[in-house]
């Protein structure tokens, strides 16, 4: 396992941080979060043309840059820090990883290059209104119709599902669990943006009524690639979350150093110093877990399922606790709409639940460790 970043990786991080500070200031976050789409295609294209971020972990054979999950983790940490409003987690992390894991060689050659260059936005539709994060929740049916399939059912909590060009869908047929691809504008598919707590990450409900779909990979063979995709997604989300947590922690410290009460900065009170020390330890420990998970994903470590769940649980708790403390430290102003803290607080709350809450992941970790 890798416990430090190389100087190239550190350099990449600092370039990325400057870039995102420039492209995703909170004024932009606030503008995009008020739109139904939640992101802006022109800005997204610019982002990809300059840094090629959507291609980062996609293999070079399929138009990607062929970097590892460690580099992808760095990208996500910085995006989480900047609260970037873009279909990155949906398209690059979830959908592209599912296609890499499940698709046939020909499908990977066809689908991945357009995701890698950012021209196609893909989403992964696996959860349903029952809100279960594993395959046991999949009730959507796939029925063979000549050379194609038809999908019926409802998918929910689909990140960027209402704006994606391509939707990778998990459904159940006679052969068992399979992945399919469906065009975003397919006949019989109705899409609705859900009202969400975190407006910086849009969720959609997708209704499928006899929607024509193409099998992705092997019929009935989706269980393993789906599980593999989920462990990697959990590792990625953990990294995104620690980026947000670090940003909040720093903002709470900056504020405490500025705010004067009783004739002194509130940073000079021991109760505040100890709180900040506790925040630092929460965030640094969660970072260590998130980095360990990214490193395990990069190395295809057999222990990844446990480590990824550990990291997701750790990052969820740390991000949420940091968000709570950051609002507390800001006092009344921290509870206002104009103060930026609530933007990260809401991302922390949604991320705590997204892909499985801490208790769910702790149980998954225990099962992975055969306890």
């Amino acid at each position: 396992m890798q416990f430090s970043f190389t100087s190239e990786q550190e350099e990449f991080r600092s370039v990325l941080r400057r870039f995102l500070e420039d492209k995703s200031p909170t004024t932009t976050v606030r503008r995009l979060m008020e739109t139904e789409a939640g992101w802006d295609r022109a800005a997204w294209q610019e982002l990809n043309q300059q840094l090629g971020l959507t291609a980062i972990h996609i293999p070079e054979a399929y138009g990607g840059q062929g970097f590892s999950f460690v580099e992808l983790g760095i990208v996500l940490e910085e995006m989480g820090r900047a609260l970037l409003c873009a279909p990155y987690f949906s398209s690059t992390v979830l959908a592209a990883t599912a296609i890499v894991n499940a698709g046939t060689e020909a499908q990977k050659r066809e689908l991945l290059p357009v995701i890698a260059d950012g021209s196609c936005i893909a989403a992964l539709a696996f959860t349903e209104p029952n809100g279960r994060w594993d395959a046991s929740g999949v009730e959507m049916t796939a029925t063979r119709d000549g050379g194609l399939f038809r999908l019926d059912g409802v998918k929910s909590f689909v990140v960027d599902g209402h704006t994606a060009d391509l939707i990778v869908v998990l459904a159940r047929g006679v052969a068992g669990l399979s992945f399919f691809t469906v065009r975003g504008d397919a006949l019989g598919l109705t899409r609705r943006a859900l009202k969400v707590v975190d407006p910086t990450r849009k969720l959609a409900m997708l209704n499928f009524r006899s929607v024509e779909a193409t099998l992705l990979g092997e019929e009935g063979g989706a269980a393993a690639p789906f599980a593999k995709t989920m462990t990697r997604a959990a590792a990625c989300l953990a990294n995104e979350m620690v980026g947000g947590a670090e940003r909040l922690r720093q903002s709470a410290l900056d504020y405490a150093n500025l705010r004067v009460q009783f004739g002194r900065t509130i940073a000079s009170f021991q109760s505040m110093k100890h709180k900040q020390a506790d925040m630092l330890i929460d965030v640094e420990l969660a970072k260590s877990a998130a980095y360990a998970a990214a490193s395990a994903a990069a190395e295809d470590d057999p222990d990844l399922p446990a480590i990824a769940s550990l990291a997701k649980a750790a990052a969820s708790e740390a991000y949420m606790q940091t968000a709570i403390s950051t609002i507390q430290i800001h006092g009344g102003i921290g509870f206002t709409w104009d103060n930026d803290t609530h933007l990260w607080f809401k991302r922390a709350k949604a991320s705590e639940v997204f892909l499985g809450d801490p208790a769910w992941h702790r149980e998954a970790m225990m099962r992975a460790w055969n306890v």
Partner: protein, 418 residues
């Protein structure tokens, strides 16, 4: 000199060990050979038994020793701190007198810093050192002194001037523990062990040449000792694990360890024994209980995260990078881990958590965990002091307002009851 690389150091130390290492040596005899070679303390300067290697390359030396089970210089316990402190601040005569015999293990040491009236506030020590004729005469009381009952020498922090601010009135001495004025009493702890001592100093004497650095500069020397103590807190236990090898030198090493490490035997329990949790849950048949599973998982998440944080800190150190915040969190993190582990052991044990000794789970080991954990968040800097250090040094927040630094120590309020 050719530039040293990992490969060249490895080759050199390997060749040296092949030519010299032999299990039939006596422990002290071997260590003296090692001390002369420079491989015993490779980071030390070449003038004083070392090779001047950076920490990253010294790790290679450790690996090579470990690979063939070669015994190193005496590292366990306080003598390592004594050696490091005297290397930094000792006079040539002090180095000559003490360094070799400390590295060889012939001298044992104890640290006379804490007092009943000054724990976290170590610089508030009131033990007096007065110059009388050709001697320093020491009067006062020290506490929490590990190994004082068998130490040859003590590292003593004492007050030489009450008319200046507290930090300026301290001096650092090397005191001979084998003298009538030094009275050592074991201190019984809440877990029943007596790993520490109280040391009563009544007209005890120190030779003038055993003052370290200058009069009034004792705090700077003590800071060096404490820095090494913090850095090596984990090392004390690791080094204490004697080899299981066969041969005269291993027998002698095991005997040495049995004495030196005796006070530390409950330290693994103090740290919470996370390693026992899953096995115990299975043995107790509660590993299927969802509440127990959640609590175990929380504990493992915390302990793994703390372990990985320590490894990040070490990786940065090995690369010679400036230490990030992760390097200052270990002590506080281990307190959290220990407390969480004690909670989980209690949950797993149920009613048996009330029992100790032969009636208790694991023949009393679990009970020992439960009543030893409170020490971890106090010893070596309380959690509260750790938070002050993290907030002031890492986060650069304002320092605590001080009312005791700007006036003579004589006028600073002190404990009425200890």
């Amino acid at each position: 000199m050719t530039e040293m690389t990992e490969a060249s150091v490895r080759a050199e130390v390997r060749a040296w060990l092949e030519a010299n290492w032999n299990v039939d040596y006596g422990l002290v005899e071997w260590r003296n050979i090692l001390i002369d070679s420079g491989w015993g303390v490779p980071t030390w300067p070449t003038d004083w038994y070392g090779k001047g290697l950076p920490a990253g390359l010294a790790a290679v030396v450790d690996e090579e020793f470990a690979r063939i089970g070669a015994v190193g210089v005496a590292k366990a316990g306080i003598r390592r701190l004594a050696a490091a402190t005297l290397l930094a601040h000792g006079t040539p005569a002090q180095k000559q007198q003490f360094l070799r015999r400390s590295l060889s293990g012939e001298n044992t040491w104890c640290q006379l810093f804490s007092e009943p009236g000054s724990g976290s506030d170590l610089a508030g020590a009131t033990t007096k050192a007065e110059r009388k004729g050709n001697r320093w005469v020491i009067n006062g009381q020290k506490v929490w002194t590990t190994s004082a009952h068998h130490a040859d020498w003590g590292l003593l922090l004492a007050r030489t001037n009450v008319d200046v601010p507290k930090h300026q009135g301290l001096s650092y001495f090397i005191i001979d523990m084998h003298q009538p004025g030094v009275d050592v009493h074991p201190l019984r702890q809440m877990n029943g062990h007596a790993s520490f001592n109280q040391v009563f100093l009544t007209d005890a004497e120190v030779l003038p040449e055993h003052l370290v650095l200058d009069v009034g500069r004792g705090w700077a020397v003590a800071t060096t000792t404490l820095m090494h103590e913090r850095r090596e807190a984990d090392g004390v236990r690791v080094w204490g694990q004697a080899s299981v090898g066969v041969g005269r030198i291993y027998d002698e090493e095991r005997a040495e360890n049995a004495t030196v490490m005796e006070p530390y035997k409950w330290y693994p329990q103090r740290a919470g024994r996370v390693d026992l949790v899953i096995e115990r849950a299975k043995a107790a048949g509660v590993n299927g209980d969802p509440v127990v599973r959640q609590e175990i998982a929380k504990l493992l998440t915390l302990s793994k995260s703390a372990e990985w944080t320590a490894r990040r800190a070490r990786a940065a150190q090995m690369q010679g990078r400036p230490q990030g915040p992760e390097g200052s969190l270990g002590k506080l993190a281990s307190s959290h881990v220990a407390r969480a582990a004690a909670r989980v052991h209690t949950l797993i044990s149920g009613a048996d958590a009330m029992l100790s000794g032969a009636d208790g789970p694991m023949n009393g080991l679990i009970a020992e965990i439960l009543v030893s954990v409170p020490a971890g968040s106090i010893a070596g800097g309380t959690d509260e002091i750790q938070r002050n250090i993290i907030s002031e040094r890492v986060l650069e927040m304002p320092k605590e307002p001080r009312t005791d630094n700007d006036r003579p120590f004589r006028d600073v309020p002190k404990n009425l009851v200890m």
